[in-house]
């Protein structure tokens, strides 16, 4: 079956260009979850469908950010979002982030595949030289995800985020193109 707005296809997930129809489902509600907001360092503020639609419109106009939906290949259910932001065409770099909002799909496999697909796309198709991510020190999930895919830890920002009443450190991970192209974690795109 043809997948709507399919952009990058993997084995169990595909990355799609989000549409207004995606906003109407549970996407907006992930950002009413205190734990998700805390872990991604987002300001704890209510989010509605119309806020999410406005956000999507803003992202679409903004060419320094690529936002994609993470969807299950079998049933096209949107389980999360993944992005490359701060796209810098001079330095060839960008910052990645990923959220799996649907708790039923938080078993690690989908996040791993989605990040591998995005890394491959960013470094080989967008011709970026470096992708980095910033994650709270307490977010062990994100650390493991980056480490397993061969990203390296490059530094710690002290007390950079306010988390549940205290300031906590965040860690920067990065992957360079020269290292990724030698990696055995590189996926092949299913739509090629």
């Amino acid at each position: 079956m043809k997948k709507k707005n399919l952009f990058i296809k993997g084995s169990s997930v595909y990355l799609s260009y989000p549409s207004s129809a995606d906003v109407g489902k549970d996407w907006y509600d992930w950002f009413n979850d205190d734990e998700i907001n805390s872990l991604v360092g987002k300001y704890p503020w209510p989010n509605s469908k119309s806020d999410q639609k406005k956000y999507l419109d803003d992202v679409r106009r903004n060419k320094d950010r690529l936002l994609l939906g993470v969807k299950i290949l079998k049933n096209s259910k949107m389980i999360g979002v993944i992005s490359l932001s701060k796209l810098n065409s001079h330095h060839r770099s960008a910052e990645s982030s990923i959220i799996i909002g649907n708790s039923k799909y938080k078993n690690g496999i989908y996040a791993l595949e989605a990040l591998a697909l995005l890394t491959e796309f960013g470094l080989t198709r967008l011709n970026l030289n470096r992708i980095f991510s910033s994650t709270l020190l307490i977010n062990k999930n994100a650390h493991n995800l980056n480490k397993i895919l061969g990203w390296r830890k490059v530094g710690t920002c002290k007390k950079s985020h306010y988390y549940k009443g205290q300031y906590v450190d965040s860690v920067i991970y990065e992957i360079l193109k020269e290292n990724w192209i030698k990696s055995n974690k590189r996926p092949s795109f299913g739509n090629e």
């Binding site: 791993l112 591998a116 999930n141």
Partner: protein, 80 residues
């Protein structure tokens, strides 16, 4: 898979997914194990790579969604 390796595998799964060894059987899957969450799964991959001194490639990694598949992938890796 030889008993010693299978026992080591069960120990790693038990520690990583935080489930008793006796609950590890051929029917164990990400979809039927409450403790198979993102953090525990990523810890499991990392521990398997460390203990067996192997590196999973992309295709192998995304196959690791059940006890049966872990054994299948490990068997191939260890034989190499």
């Amino acid at each position: 898979m030889k008993n010693k390796i299978e026992d080591l595998l069960k120990t790693i799964i038990s520690k990583s997914l935080k489930i008793p060894k006796k609950k590890i059987n051929p029917y164990l899957k990400a979809s039927n194990c409450k403790n198979w969450d993102s953090l525990n799964f990523l810890t499991l991959i990392s521990n398997l790579e460390k203990k067996f001194k192997i590196k999973f490639n992309y295709k192998e990694m995304i196959m690791l969604d059940s006890y049966k598949n872990i054994i299948k992938v490990l068997n191939k890796k260890i034989k190499k």
